[in-house]
């Protein structure tokens, strides 16, 4: 315990408190910091013209990626949970993309979606005849491109394995009882499987949202937030302010606003969970 407490205090608590302090200052790393009170927060809400847009883009990205990702992982897990031969091969196939390092996956996606000589656009053109989107070159298609990348690399990953574990934990007796009562396979899924795995769904949803809101690396590697600020997500906004312009005080204020947002969202979800998450153990 002791070594960790020391480490935890030194590496988490101290920085967290320092960050809170810096958020009330302006600090450029070279000259000493200057206290500005709530100035940074006022600037974020009223003067920073990338603040609200970057939040909106982050919400768009997370709002599409998380529901699709969680439902996708659940569907894959349900398919893999059918007791047939060869599922381990498919499980491996679905899991592989999540092993590809983010930077490598982004470089590869950039290439797959290359508008002129990439295979995806060629395929789209040949099958539909319409002019395919220019993906990373078109501001309105860059976020969809990043969403497709996120889905490819996360749908079959750890989240799917956690769902599989959840599905396998549903007791056979419940299914047998439902069968005796005449429930078909859809009814069994809807009224036995789904309620029993709501804790797993909740767990994946909460972690998924926390992760998706912090999206950074793919946007930076693919287009550095561009074109025309199209993927200037909130995490990029913090990064650029801190390490691009060395506005450490302002960036700390942005980071704290972000922390408050994420903690509030998680808290709201935990409150909502009471209405839809079913914990079997509590009701025994």
């Amino acid at each position: 315990m002791a070594p960790w407490l020391v480490g935890y205090v030194a590496l988490t608590l101290v920085p967290v408190l320092l960050s809170l302090y810096y958020s009330f200052t302006t600090y450029d790393v070279i000259s000493p910091e200057k206290w500005v009170g709530l100035g940074n927060f006022v600037e974020a809400f009223t003067k920073d013209d990338q603040f609200w847009p970057s939040l909106a883009k982050t919400a768009y990205y997370a709002g599409v990626t998380v529901p699709l990702g969680v439902v996708g992982s659940l569907l894959l897990a349900v398919l893999l949970n059918v007791k047939v031969r060869g599922t381990s091969i498919f499980r491996t196939l679905f899991f592989m993309p999540s092993l590809v390092p983010v930077v490598a996956a982004t470089v590869l996606w950039f290439w797959l979606l290359q508008p002129d000589w990439g295979p995806i656009n060629r395929l789209l053109y040949q099958t539909t005849g319409i002019t395919p989107p220019r993906w990373f070159q078109d501001p309105s298609w860059t976020i969809p491109a990043l969403i497709s990348l996120a889905l490819w690399s996360s749908v079959g990953g750890t989240r799917m394995i956690i769902f599989l574990a959840g599905l396998q934990g549903v007791s056979e007796e419940l299914y047998d009882a439902a069968k005796v009562d005449g429930a078909g396979s859809w009814a069994r899924f809807r009224h036995v499987t789904l309620p029993m795995i709501t804790p797993t769904i909740f767990f994946n949803l909460v972690l998924g949202i926390i992760g998706a809101l912090q999206v950074f690396t793919p946007a930076l590697v693919a287009t550095e937030g561009g074109p025309a600020y199209a993927t200037w997500f909130y995490a990029l906004h913090i990064y650029k302010n801190a390490f691009g312009f060395f506005n450490m005080g302002y960036a700390s204020a942005l980071a704290w606003l972000f922390a408050v947002l994420i903690i509030t969202l998680t808290w709201v979800q935990m409150r909502l969970a009471r209405t839809w998450v079913y914990y079997a153990a509590e009701n025994e």
């Binding site: 960790w4 047939v84 983010v102 956690i162 704290w256």
Partner: protein, 298 residues
């Protein structure tokens, strides 16, 4: 008479059920295969592109396979870019961090799972709540501290030190959950025989935790090997770059019109992904068990 009708009915129902089951099976396989192909295509395209010549990667329409597989690309990449240096640097960071994360996280998880002391649950909740903190909250002040007081910018220290201070909250959580599934009677029996807390951890719990430890080791390896932001913030000179930084550096190099670099870029991409994939497959057995048994399903 009645009996035959009844028999008929059961067999026809049996047949229908049989047919239904075959249909479900066929649909499952069809769905799995279609999705499998979809998931595989990016891998196929990367490998195929890595074996093309430079100009071949820019053909319109694109060719599915290279006319002549350019295996030499896998030799040329080493001299085209300092890939060997980058891979070695990545390997160094992994070797310097993963053991630290495993050792310290095990100790902390042990303290959370097996000892009663005031404030334990509070600290546990505090640790879990750090999972919600966006990394920028700690990254910025850490950078300032490392820069101002230690002069550690452009060194590996800022990447290594955090791993020796408990690793990540998630790692601790996973190990703690796993330890909770091991009956305390084992500890008590050993204690009666005079074993100390260290002996219990070392001789009894750690051997039983092997699947969870392997899971943690894999997750930590992947996290370090794939990490971009940390090296990106702290490392400036290409000689110190990890592979993640190097790959992005290579990608942003301006492309000359005569000689596209996409084929080599794909080769480098494969070189970066390969260690992660290979390592995972050698420990896959433990990984799935580690997640299932730690009850990580909410």
């Amino acid at each position: 008479m009645d009996a035959t009708i009844a028999l008929d009915r059961t067999t026809s129902r049996g047949k229908a059920a049989e047919r239904w089951r075959t249909l479900v099976l066929a649909l499952t396989y069809a769905g799995l295969s279609a999705l499998g192909l979809l998931f595989c295509f990016p891998f196929f395209w990367t490998i195929s592109s890595s074996l093309k010549t430079g100009p071949e990667t820019h053909f319109v329409p694109p060719t599915v396979l290279p006319a002549v597989p350019q295996w030499a690309n896998y030799v040329r990449i080493w001299s085209a870019q300092p890939v060997a240096t980058w891979l070695t640097n990545s390997a160094f960071v992994v070797v310097a961090t993963v053991p630290g994360a495993i050792i310290t996280a095990t100790l902390v998880a042990y303290a959370f799972a097996r000892f009663d002391y005031p404030g334990r649950d509070f600290f546990f909740m505090l640790m879990l709540s750090t999972l919600m903190l966006p990394y920028e909250v700690t990254l910025i002040p850490q950078y300032i501290i490392y820069q101002k007081y230690f002069g550690w910018i452009n060194t590996y220290w800022p990447l290594i030190i955090p791993s020796w201070a408990g690793g990540g909250a998630f790692t601790i959580f996973l190990l703690r959950q796993f330890l909770m599934t091991i009956p305390r009677d084992l500890d008590d029996a050993a204690r009666v025989d005079g074993a100390s807390s260290w002996t219990i951890l070392w001789r009894i719990l750690i051997p039983l935790c092997r699947p969870a430890l392997a899971t943690v080791a894999i997750l930590e390896f992947l996290r370090q090997w794939n990490d971009f932001l940390g090296p990106f913030v702290y490392l400036n000179t290409p000689e110190l770059f990890t592979m993640a930084l190097g790959l992005r550096f290579f990608q942003t190099l301006p492309e000359s019109t005569q000689e596209p670099k996409t084929h080599l870029l794909m080769t480098a991409t494969i070189l970066m992904a390969l260690p992660a994939i290979l390592l995972f497959f050698s420990f896959q057995r433990y990984f799935v068990r580690g997640i299932v048994m730690s009850g990580l399903k909410g």
